[in-house]
Symmetry: C3
Subunit: 147 residues, 3 copies
Protein backbone atom coordinates (compact mmCIF):
# COMPACT_ATOMS: atom_id res chain seq x y z
CA UNK A 1 0.00 0.00 0.00
CA UNK A 2 2.95 2.29 0.60
CA UNK A 3 3.61 4.53 -2.36
CA UNK A 4 -0.02 5.48 -2.86
CA UNK A 5 0.75 8.88 -1.33
CA UNK A 6 1.66 10.84 -4.49
CA UNK A 7 3.03 13.96 -2.75
CA UNK A 8 6.62 13.25 -1.60
CA UNK A 9 6.13 15.06 1.72
CA UNK A 10 2.77 13.43 2.49
CA UNK A 11 4.10 10.08 3.87
CA UNK A 12 6.17 12.08 6.38
CA UNK A 13 3.33 14.42 7.26
CA UNK A 14 1.11 11.34 7.72
CA UNK A 15 3.52 10.00 10.34
CA UNK A 16 3.88 13.15 12.46
CA UNK A 17 0.23 14.20 12.13
CA UNK A 18 -0.95 10.75 13.22
CA UNK A 19 1.47 10.70 16.14
CA UNK A 20 0.27 14.02 17.56
CA UNK A 21 -3.39 13.08 17.02
CA UNK A 22 -2.76 9.79 18.88
CA UNK A 23 -1.07 11.75 21.67
CA UNK A 24 -4.17 13.97 21.89
CA UNK A 25 -6.47 10.93 21.94
CA UNK A 26 -4.40 9.37 24.74
CA UNK A 27 -5.60 12.19 27.02
CA UNK A 28 -9.06 10.54 27.04
CA UNK A 29 -7.59 7.51 28.76
CA UNK A 30 -5.58 9.55 31.25
CA UNK A 31 -8.81 11.37 32.16
CA UNK A 32 -10.68 8.08 32.57
CA UNK A 33 -7.85 6.66 34.67
CA UNK A 34 -8.00 9.63 37.07
CA UNK A 35 -11.81 9.61 37.17
CA UNK A 36 -11.91 5.93 38.08
CA UNK A 37 -9.06 5.89 40.59
CA UNK A 38 -10.40 9.01 42.34
CA UNK A 39 -14.07 8.06 41.86
CA UNK A 40 -15.02 11.50 40.51
CA UNK A 41 -17.40 11.63 37.56
CA UNK A 42 -19.27 14.17 35.47
CA UNK A 43 -22.39 12.06 34.78
CA UNK A 44 -24.72 10.35 37.30
CA UNK A 45 -24.87 7.19 35.14
CA UNK A 46 -21.07 6.84 35.43
CA UNK A 47 -20.91 6.82 39.22
CA UNK A 48 -21.71 3.12 39.57
CA UNK A 49 -18.68 2.01 37.55
CA UNK A 50 -16.19 2.83 40.34
CA UNK A 51 -17.29 0.50 43.12
CA UNK A 52 -18.01 1.99 46.51
CA UNK A 53 -16.68 5.48 46.30
CA UNK A 54 -17.98 7.17 43.12
CA UNK A 55 -19.55 10.64 43.20
CA UNK A 56 -20.29 13.62 40.95
CA UNK A 57 -17.41 16.00 41.59
CA UNK A 58 -14.51 17.83 40.07
CA UNK A 59 -10.97 16.90 40.99
CA UNK A 60 -7.85 18.91 40.29
CA UNK A 61 -5.95 15.97 38.76
CA UNK A 62 -8.84 15.31 36.36
CA UNK A 63 -9.20 19.00 35.50
CA UNK A 64 -5.47 19.25 34.77
CA UNK A 65 -5.67 16.45 32.19
CA UNK A 66 -8.78 18.04 30.69
CA UNK A 67 -6.99 21.38 30.33
CA UNK A 68 -4.09 19.59 28.64
CA UNK A 69 -6.54 17.81 26.32
CA UNK A 70 -8.29 21.07 25.39
CA UNK A 71 -4.92 22.75 24.81
CA UNK A 72 -4.11 19.89 22.44
CA UNK A 73 -7.36 20.43 20.54
CA UNK A 74 -6.49 24.14 20.30
CA UNK A 75 -2.98 23.47 18.95
CA UNK A 76 -2.65 19.98 17.48
CA UNK A 77 -5.69 20.29 15.21
CA UNK A 78 -4.51 23.63 13.74
CA UNK A 79 -1.11 21.96 13.17
CA UNK A 80 -2.70 19.10 11.24
CA UNK A 81 -5.03 21.36 9.20
CA UNK A 82 -2.37 23.94 8.34
CA UNK A 83 0.22 21.16 7.89
CA UNK A 84 -1.92 19.41 5.31
CA UNK A 85 -2.27 22.61 3.27
CA UNK A 86 1.45 23.25 3.76
CA UNK A 87 2.23 19.74 2.46
CA UNK A 88 -0.06 20.38 -0.54
CA UNK A 89 1.79 23.65 -1.26
CA UNK A 90 4.95 21.71 -2.15
CA UNK A 91 7.57 22.54 0.49
CA UNK A 92 11.06 21.07 0.39
CA UNK A 93 11.28 17.84 2.35
CA UNK A 94 14.01 19.13 4.67
CA UNK A 95 12.05 22.26 5.56
CA UNK A 96 8.86 20.25 6.07
CA UNK A 97 10.56 17.67 8.31
CA UNK A 98 12.02 20.47 10.41
CA UNK A 99 8.53 21.90 11.04
CA UNK A 100 6.93 18.52 11.72
CA UNK A 101 9.66 17.34 14.10
CA UNK A 102 9.88 20.57 16.05
CA UNK A 103 6.11 20.66 16.52
CA UNK A 104 5.88 16.99 17.54
CA UNK A 105 8.78 17.27 20.00
CA UNK A 106 7.39 20.49 21.48
CA UNK A 107 3.93 19.00 22.06
CA UNK A 108 5.31 15.83 23.68
CA UNK A 109 7.34 17.99 26.02
CA UNK A 110 4.28 20.23 26.60
CA UNK A 111 2.23 17.21 27.69
CA UNK A 112 4.94 16.08 30.13
CA UNK A 113 5.25 19.62 31.50
CA UNK A 114 1.47 19.89 31.90
CA UNK A 115 0.72 16.49 33.44
CA UNK A 116 3.67 16.63 35.87
CA UNK A 117 3.20 20.34 36.62
CA UNK A 118 6.82 21.15 35.83
CA UNK A 119 7.88 24.67 36.86
CA UNK A 120 7.18 27.40 34.34
CA UNK A 121 8.29 28.53 31.82
CA UNK A 122 8.79 24.91 30.64
CA UNK A 123 5.16 24.47 29.58
CA UNK A 124 4.85 28.00 28.24
CA UNK A 125 7.96 27.67 26.11
CA UNK A 126 6.97 24.29 24.66
CA UNK A 127 3.54 25.75 23.83
CA UNK A 128 5.24 28.68 22.09
CA UNK A 129 7.63 26.52 20.07
CA UNK A 130 4.77 24.41 18.73
CA UNK A 131 2.71 27.53 18.03
CA UNK A 132 5.55 29.15 16.08
CA UNK A 133 6.07 25.98 14.01
CA UNK A 134 2.40 26.13 12.96
CA UNK A 135 2.64 29.90 12.29
CA UNK A 136 5.68 29.32 10.08
CA UNK A 137 3.79 26.70 8.04
CA UNK A 138 0.80 29.08 7.82
CA UNK A 139 3.10 31.80 6.46
CA UNK A 140 4.34 29.38 3.79
CA UNK A 141 0.77 28.39 2.86
CA UNK A 142 -0.34 32.02 2.58
CA UNK A 143 2.70 32.81 0.40
CA UNK A 144 1.54 30.37 -2.28
CA UNK A 145 -2.23 30.75 -1.72
CA UNK A 146 -4.66 32.94 -3.68
CA UNK A 147 -7.52 35.10 -2.38
CA UNK B 1 -19.34 17.36 -10.42
CA UNK B 2 -19.28 13.80 -9.11
CA UNK B 3 -16.21 11.96 -10.29
CA UNK B 4 -13.81 14.77 -9.45
CA UNK B 5 -12.64 12.78 -6.42
CA UNK B 6 -9.70 10.87 -7.95
CA UNK B 7 -9.05 8.50 -5.02
CA UNK B 8 -11.61 5.64 -5.19
CA UNK B 9 -12.15 5.62 -1.40
CA UNK B 10 -12.48 9.43 -1.11
CA UNK B 11 -16.15 9.73 -2.19
CA UNK B 12 -17.05 7.25 0.55
CA UNK B 13 -14.86 8.92 3.14
CA UNK B 14 -16.45 12.26 2.16
CA UNK B 15 -19.89 10.86 3.00
CA UNK B 16 -19.08 9.42 6.43
CA UNK B 17 -16.76 12.27 7.47
CA UNK B 18 -19.38 14.87 6.56
CA UNK B 19 -22.11 12.95 8.40
CA UNK B 20 -20.15 12.78 11.67
CA UNK B 21 -19.11 16.44 11.37
CA UNK B 22 -22.77 17.41 10.84
CA UNK B 23 -23.72 15.29 13.87
CA UNK B 24 -21.11 17.21 15.91
CA UNK B 25 -22.39 20.55 14.62
CA UNK B 26 -25.94 19.58 15.56
CA UNK B 27 -24.88 19.69 19.23
CA UNK B 28 -24.74 23.51 18.92
CA UNK B 29 -28.47 23.60 18.27
CA UNK B 30 -29.30 21.14 21.05
CA UNK B 31 -27.33 23.40 23.42
CA UNK B 32 -29.17 26.50 22.19
CA UNK B 33 -32.52 24.70 22.52
CA UNK B 34 -31.82 23.82 26.18
CA UNK B 35 -30.43 27.29 26.94
CA UNK B 36 -33.55 28.98 25.57
CA UNK B 37 -36.16 26.63 27.01
CA UNK B 38 -34.49 26.72 30.45
CA UNK B 39 -33.47 30.39 30.20
CA UNK B 40 -29.87 29.69 31.30
CA UNK B 41 -27.11 31.54 29.49
CA UNK B 42 -23.35 31.99 29.63
CA UNK B 43 -23.24 35.63 28.44
CA UNK B 44 -25.07 38.67 29.88
CA UNK B 45 -25.94 39.91 26.39
CA UNK B 46 -27.80 36.64 25.69
CA UNK B 47 -30.15 36.83 28.67
CA UNK B 48 -32.67 39.12 26.97
CA UNK B 49 -33.36 36.68 24.14
CA UNK B 50 -35.41 34.32 26.35
CA UNK B 51 -38.29 36.56 27.40
CA UNK B 52 -39.06 36.90 31.10
CA UNK B 53 -36.96 34.22 32.69
CA UNK B 54 -33.36 34.39 31.42
CA UNK B 55 -30.38 34.38 33.77
CA UNK B 56 -26.65 33.62 33.86
CA UNK B 57 -26.47 30.10 35.21
CA UNK B 58 -25.35 26.57 34.52
CA UNK B 59 -27.94 23.84 34.05
CA UNK B 60 -27.29 20.11 34.08
CA UNK B 61 -29.16 19.49 30.80
CA UNK B 62 -27.07 22.17 29.06
CA UNK B 63 -23.83 20.87 30.57
CA UNK B 64 -24.62 17.33 29.44
CA UNK B 65 -24.98 18.44 25.81
CA UNK B 66 -21.79 20.47 26.11
CA UNK B 67 -19.89 17.43 27.44
CA UNK B 68 -21.24 15.38 24.51
CA UNK B 69 -20.17 18.15 22.09
CA UNK B 70 -16.65 18.31 23.56
CA UNK B 71 -16.41 14.51 23.45
CA UNK B 72 -17.30 14.74 19.75
CA UNK B 73 -14.54 17.30 19.16
CA UNK B 74 -12.13 14.95 20.95
CA UNK B 75 -13.11 11.93 18.84
CA UNK B 76 -14.81 12.93 15.60
CA UNK B 77 -12.08 15.37 14.53
CA UNK B 78 -9.29 12.79 15.07
CA UNK B 79 -11.40 10.35 13.02
CA UNK B 80 -11.66 12.81 10.12
CA UNK B 81 -7.97 13.79 10.26
CA UNK B 82 -6.65 10.24 10.56
CA UNK B 83 -9.31 9.01 8.14
CA UNK B 84 -8.18 11.45 5.47
CA UNK B 85 -4.57 10.24 5.76
CA UNK B 86 -5.82 6.64 5.82
CA UNK B 87 -7.80 7.30 2.62
CA UNK B 88 -4.67 8.83 1.04
CA UNK B 89 -2.63 5.75 2.00
CA UNK B 90 -4.68 3.60 -0.42
CA UNK B 91 -6.69 1.12 1.68
CA UNK B 92 -8.99 -1.43 0.09
CA UNK B 93 -12.54 -0.12 -0.27
CA UNK B 94 -14.05 -2.92 1.80
CA UNK B 95 -11.65 -2.36 4.69
CA UNK B 96 -12.15 1.41 4.54
CA UNK B 97 -15.94 1.14 4.51
CA UNK B 98 -15.80 -1.16 7.52
CA UNK B 99 -13.84 1.44 9.49
CA UNK B 100 -16.02 4.38 8.38
CA UNK B 101 -19.32 2.61 9.08
CA UNK B 102 -18.31 1.22 12.46
CA UNK B 103 -17.09 4.65 13.59
CA UNK B 104 -20.19 6.46 12.32
CA UNK B 105 -22.56 3.94 13.89
CA UNK B 106 -20.67 4.00 17.18
CA UNK B 107 -20.75 7.81 17.43
CA UNK B 108 -24.47 8.02 16.63
CA UNK B 109 -25.13 5.47 19.37
CA UNK B 110 -22.74 7.38 21.69
CA UNK B 111 -24.75 10.57 21.19
CA UNK B 112 -28.03 8.81 21.96
CA UNK B 113 -26.48 7.18 25.04
CA UNK B 114 -25.10 10.55 26.23
CA UNK B 115 -28.14 12.76 25.63
CA UNK B 116 -30.63 10.26 27.08
CA UNK B 117 -28.28 9.22 29.91
CA UNK B 118 -28.61 5.50 29.08
CA UNK B 119 -27.17 3.18 31.75
CA UNK B 120 -23.46 2.46 31.45
CA UNK B 121 -21.56 0.77 29.90
CA UNK B 122 -23.59 1.71 26.77
CA UNK B 123 -21.90 5.09 26.35
CA UNK B 124 -18.48 3.79 27.38
CA UNK B 125 -18.61 0.91 24.91
CA UNK B 126 -19.75 3.08 22.00
CA UNK B 127 -16.93 5.51 22.81
CA UNK B 128 -14.47 2.60 22.82
CA UNK B 129 -15.68 1.13 19.51
CA UNK B 130 -15.27 4.49 17.75
CA UNK B 131 -11.89 5.00 19.40
CA UNK B 132 -10.64 1.58 18.25
CA UNK B 133 -11.82 2.25 14.68
CA UNK B 134 -9.69 5.41 14.62
CA UNK B 135 -6.73 3.58 16.21
CA UNK B 136 -6.95 0.86 13.57
CA UNK B 137 -6.86 3.48 10.78
CA UNK B 138 -3.93 5.19 12.53
CA UNK B 139 -2.06 1.86 12.60
CA UNK B 140 -2.63 1.51 8.85
CA UNK B 141 -1.40 5.07 8.22
CA UNK B 142 1.74 4.53 10.30
CA UNK B 143 2.46 1.27 8.45
CA UNK B 144 2.80 3.10 5.13
CA UNK B 145 4.15 6.42 6.49
CA UNK B 146 7.77 7.54 6.66
CA UNK B 147 9.59 9.33 9.47
CA UNK C 1 6.60 26.54 -5.02
CA UNK C 2 3.27 28.14 -5.96
CA UNK C 3 1.39 26.11 -8.51
CA UNK C 4 1.92 22.79 -6.71
CA UNK C 5 -1.74 22.85 -5.67
CA UNK C 6 -3.27 20.83 -8.55
CA UNK C 7 -6.94 21.50 -7.74
CA UNK C 8 -7.85 24.99 -9.03
CA UNK C 9 -9.94 25.82 -5.95
CA UNK C 10 -7.32 24.59 -3.45
CA UNK C 11 -5.06 27.69 -3.45
CA UNK C 12 -8.12 29.79 -2.53
CA UNK C 13 -9.31 27.32 0.09
CA UNK C 14 -5.78 27.29 1.52
CA UNK C 15 -5.97 31.06 2.04
CA UNK C 16 -9.35 31.23 3.76
CA UNK C 17 -8.85 28.04 5.80
CA UNK C 18 -5.48 29.25 7.07
CA UNK C 19 -6.90 32.68 7.93
CA UNK C 20 -9.73 31.27 10.07
CA UNK C 21 -7.37 28.78 11.75
CA UNK C 22 -4.99 31.66 12.58
CA UNK C 23 -7.93 33.65 13.94
CA UNK C 24 -8.81 30.68 16.16
CA UNK C 25 -5.18 30.33 17.32
CA UNK C 26 -5.09 34.06 18.17
CA UNK C 27 -7.61 33.37 20.95
CA UNK C 28 -4.80 31.63 22.90
CA UNK C 29 -2.93 34.91 23.13
CA UNK C 30 -6.01 36.92 24.06
CA UNK C 31 -6.60 34.42 26.88
CA UNK C 32 -2.98 34.70 28.04
CA UNK C 33 -3.17 38.50 27.89
CA UNK C 34 -6.25 38.57 30.14
CA UNK C 35 -4.81 35.94 32.51
CA UNK C 36 -1.61 37.93 32.97
CA UNK C 37 -3.13 41.40 33.25
CA UNK C 38 -5.76 40.16 35.72
CA UNK C 39 -3.42 37.69 37.45
CA UNK C 40 -5.92 34.82 37.24
CA UNK C 41 -4.58 31.38 36.36
CA UNK C 42 -5.77 27.80 36.04
CA UNK C 43 -2.54 26.09 37.19
CA UNK C 44 -0.58 26.61 40.43
CA UNK C 45 2.73 26.59 38.53
CA UNK C 46 1.54 29.56 36.43
CA UNK C 47 0.79 31.87 39.35
CA UNK C 48 4.36 33.05 39.78
CA UNK C 49 4.62 34.44 36.25
CA UNK C 50 2.43 37.49 37.04
CA UNK C 51 4.45 39.27 39.71
CA UNK C 52 2.76 40.08 42.98
CA UNK C 53 -0.88 39.46 42.30
CA UNK C 54 -1.36 36.03 40.70
CA UNK C 55 -3.92 33.54 42.01
CA UNK C 56 -5.93 30.49 40.95
CA UNK C 57 -9.29 31.89 39.95
CA UNK C 58 -11.77 32.29 37.15
CA UNK C 59 -12.43 35.72 35.70
CA UNK C 60 -15.32 36.67 33.44
CA UNK C 61 -13.07 38.33 30.83
CA UNK C 62 -10.93 35.18 30.59
CA UNK C 63 -13.98 32.91 30.44
CA UNK C 64 -15.48 35.02 27.65
CA UNK C 65 -12.39 34.55 25.47
CA UNK C 66 -12.36 30.84 26.29
CA UNK C 67 -16.02 30.51 25.23
CA UNK C 68 -15.18 32.30 21.98
CA UNK C 69 -12.20 29.97 21.46
CA UNK C 70 -14.31 26.86 22.06
CA UNK C 71 -17.01 28.20 19.73
CA UNK C 72 -14.29 28.58 17.09
CA UNK C 73 -13.18 24.98 17.60
CA UNK C 74 -16.83 23.91 17.21
CA UNK C 75 -17.30 25.88 13.97
CA UNK C 76 -13.99 26.71 12.29
CA UNK C 77 -12.69 23.12 12.35
CA UNK C 78 -15.89 21.72 10.76
CA UNK C 79 -15.57 24.48 8.12
CA UNK C 80 -12.00 23.42 7.28
CA UNK C 81 -12.79 19.69 7.27
CA UNK C 82 -15.98 19.98 5.21
CA UNK C 83 -14.38 22.71 3.06
CA UNK C 84 -11.48 20.43 2.15
CA UNK C 85 -13.88 17.68 1.02
CA UNK C 86 -15.97 20.31 -0.79
CA UNK C 87 -12.83 21.55 -2.58
CA UNK C 88 -11.98 17.95 -3.54
CA UNK C 89 -15.50 17.48 -4.94
CA UNK C 90 -14.78 19.99 -7.72
CA UNK C 91 -17.03 23.02 -7.10
CA UNK C 92 -17.01 26.03 -9.43
CA UNK C 93 -14.53 28.66 -8.29
CA UNK C 94 -17.17 31.38 -7.97
CA UNK C 95 -19.42 29.22 -5.81
CA UNK C 96 -16.49 28.10 -3.66
CA UNK C 97 -15.21 31.65 -3.14
CA UNK C 98 -18.70 32.75 -2.10
CA UNK C 99 -18.79 30.05 0.61
CA UNK C 100 -15.22 30.72 1.83
CA UNK C 101 -15.65 34.50 1.98
CA UNK C 102 -19.03 34.46 3.67
CA UNK C 103 -17.75 32.04 6.32
CA UNK C 104 -14.55 33.98 6.94
CA UNK C 105 -16.36 37.32 7.19
CA UNK C 106 -19.01 35.87 9.48
CA UNK C 107 -16.45 34.39 11.87
CA UNK C 108 -14.41 37.60 12.06
CA UNK C 109 -17.59 39.49 12.90
CA UNK C 110 -18.55 36.74 15.39
CA UNK C 111 -15.25 37.19 17.22
CA UNK C 112 -15.71 40.98 17.43
CA UNK C 113 -19.29 40.52 18.64
CA UNK C 114 -18.16 37.99 21.26
CA UNK C 115 -15.08 39.75 22.64
CA UNK C 116 -16.78 43.17 22.80
CA UNK C 117 -20.11 41.73 24.02
CA UNK C 118 -22.09 43.48 21.27
CA UNK C 119 -25.86 43.36 21.80
CA UNK C 120 -27.60 40.28 20.45
CA UNK C 121 -28.58 39.14 17.87
CA UNK C 122 -25.27 40.31 16.32
CA UNK C 123 -23.28 37.33 17.61
CA UNK C 124 -26.12 34.87 17.06
CA UNK C 125 -26.61 35.96 13.45
CA UNK C 126 -22.90 35.84 12.59
CA UNK C 127 -22.75 32.34 14.13
CA UNK C 128 -25.74 31.32 11.99
CA UNK C 129 -24.32 32.73 8.74
CA UNK C 130 -21.05 30.81 9.21
CA UNK C 131 -22.98 27.68 10.19
CA UNK C 132 -25.17 27.87 7.06
CA UNK C 133 -22.10 28.35 4.83
CA UNK C 134 -20.65 25.09 6.21
CA UNK C 135 -24.02 23.32 5.87
CA UNK C 136 -24.25 24.41 2.24
CA UNK C 137 -20.77 23.01 1.54
CA UNK C 138 -21.75 19.78 3.36
CA UNK C 139 -24.84 19.51 1.13
CA UNK C 140 -22.62 19.82 -1.94
CA UNK C 141 -20.20 17.18 -0.61
CA UNK C 142 -23.02 14.73 0.15
CA UNK C 143 -24.47 15.29 -3.36
CA UNK C 144 -21.32 13.94 -4.98
CA UNK C 145 -20.33 11.44 -2.24
CA UNK C 146 -21.03 7.70 -2.16
CA UNK C 147 -22.17 5.56 0.78
Amino acid sequence: MAGVFDNPVLPYFAFYATMVVLKTMAMSFVTTFHRRTKGVFANPEDVGIAPGKGKIATDESVERVRRCHLNDLENVIPFVLVGLLYTASGPSLSSALLHFRIFTGARIFHTIAYLFALPQPSRGLSFLVGYLATLSMAYNVLSSAKY
